[in-house]
Symmetry: C2
Subunit: 351 residues, 2 copies
């Protein structure tokens, strides 16, 4: 029998709060027989939502932890940290710190989640800053095989030093190795093609360190258009760049799917074509659906925190819970800590 | 009758050189009755290619200017500048400087094109650095109307100061006003959503300057996912960020179209569906085709230089020539210079 896993859910977080988090939690309880969830938030509202649901669940594996505050989606991280000590987000993280749970999942404000997680859980030894890592689909242009590529940092840190980029590379390598079983995942740095450019000294310097660092399989620079080309398993970048790239990708996917929908709906002939092409379009949708790629890890912390996209439905939020279950099962932070300690304290990483 | 326009073509530039540039040039001569082209490059090769072509053209409007060198696609810009003084790229720009032509079009190495253009043509007064501006499709989510949004800088400059970002905003505003007739184009700064972040002082400061600068209609920050949402006419960013975003967009478009193709080709039923959906898919392709959006302007120079994507076909390269024809007809650099001088010298732009 699998060991019991306890995860806290920031039930009030995200664009839709309990409308998403409660049904997703019940689905996850049904799916994972060894899962216990602590739903953190307004007890009355959560209980009502649970009772309304038609999903059967084992009540002994569901707990509600009452809190009185909510961190707004646009709230300043530092204000949330100072003034929202009884928020669903803060308490969900506190319960990980106090070992009452092994992971926390939140669809709330990214900045506040990062700031609170860092403050409450602290970073691992040797790691200056945690990073947000997210899996995106990529396709080998020769084989057509789609598999995830892990990108970090996606917004936790702007203006990263070369040393921090290097640490992201190490953490990403260890994470992907744990998740996929791949012994030496390929690690690349995101850069632009231009040879001679000013101002990217941090990236150039990080490349030097990674190149001379044997435990990581550093494969060089990749450009934005190769994010999807399966050229690397881990793509490392500054959080500002990563966030811009991620959102530009989100935007282009949305643009294309909207254009596709509008084109198919534009007249009676195209509508007929849509009916006939429907099974193919559905297959394509499943292949591309960004919602299936939900759940970004905040890595580098002494605990597991998973960030769900804010605007997703229950099915997608459940994917983020799955991610938390997997990371707990694999004991990711301990593994990162072990390897990072082994890598970074026993070796001379010269800058 | 329209005034004659003379444009130089860097015939050897791009991934396919004369295979693309020569047929594109002949198509453009056929299309624009007032156009004269000077094809710069290896005379023998160009002449042979011209003779092989079946496109009818008026030979009096086509000239060949012989050069002996080629700038490689991965060549260092500074080496190209120093050692390739008889390259097709350099001479094509020289001919703009000497007023033998009014614009130059090249599909060559972006860094070398920018460095050479800046060195030969010089920047406009009051403009510290030229920028690469490119039109991308965007769609109003309410009306479904697709129209271009102009983004700059897309790779000419990394680590821009707030003052340089401000100048990009001014140049972008004037350019779009000339191209579209819109009196006060909406100008936005590309940023990430996070309120409290370190290190983006240049963007914050540029926002302050733009906000207090009456001639530009500054509408605030936009995030990467809103590039396509028609929220602004001009999007301003640092060249590093812009290049990463542009390439990430290119990559996602390619990923989706490849996935679409593979899904439709996966079995006999989906192939049948593809046949039926073909007219709709073609319409969609035309709507999205990035090749139709070819021809980035290098603005801020004392002359017109248009950069074509390196890997495009003749039809797309001809679109870049169209862009050059339009900018010559509208006399863009003079208009930018006039407005920039009026804006920046008569007003007190306090930082």
């Amino acid at each position: 029998l699998d060991k019991l896993i306890t995860i806290t859910i920031d039930a009030m977080g995200g664009d839709y709060g309990i409308d998403t988090t409660v049904p997703a939690s019940l689905m996850s309880l049904k799916k994972h027989q060894n899962l216990c969830l602590i739903l953190v938030g307004d007890e009355g509202l959560i209980r009502k939502k649970v009772e309304q649901s038609k999903i059967k669940y084992v009540s002994s594996r569901l707990k509600i932890h009452h809190t009185t505050q909510i961190v707004g989606m646009d709230e300043s991280p530092s204000l949330a940290l100072r003034q929202k000590k009884d928020s669903s987000m803060r308490v969900a993280i506190n319960l990980v710190k106090s070992k009452e749970a092994q992971a926390c999942v939140s669809a709330g404000n990214t900045g506040a989640l990062m700031a609170t997680s860092k403050y409450v859980l602290k970073t691992l030894p040797e790691i200056e800053r945690p990073a947000i890592v997210f899996a995106m689909p990529s396709m080998n242009p020769e084989t057509g095989i789609v598999r995830p590529v892990y990108m970090l940092d996606l917004g936790a840190n702007v203006n990263c030093s070369s040393e921090q980029l290097f640490q992201f590379g190490v953490m990403g390598s260890v994470l992907v190795s744990c998740l996929t079983g791949k012994e030496r995942p390929k690690v690349a740095l995101l850069n632009i093609g231009e040879e001679e450019m000013k101002g990217l000294d941090s990236i150039k310097q990080a490349a030097k360190i990674l190149k001379s660092f044997e435990p990581v399989d550093y494969v060089g620079y990749i450009e934005g258009n190769d994010i999807f080309a399966s050229k690397a398993d881990v793509i490392v970048c500054d959080g500002f760049i990563g966030n811009i790239a991620l959102k530009a990708i989100e935007g282009s996917v949305k643009f294309i799917t909207t254009a596709m929908k509008e084109t198919f709906d534009s007249n009676i002939f195209s509508k007929a074509a849509k009916l006939i092409a429907a099974p193919v379009l559905l297959k394509l949708k499943n292949k591309l659906d960004v919602k299936r790629y939900n759940g970004a890890s905040l890595i580098g912390l002494r605990g597991i925190v998973i960030k769900s996209h804010g605007g997703v439905d229950a099915l997608s939020f459940a994917v983020a819970i799955d991610e938390a279950v997997q990371e707990v099962s694999l004991d990711i932070p301990t593994k990162i800590q072990e390897k990072v300690e082994k890598f970074l304290t026993n070796q001379d990483v010269g800058v």
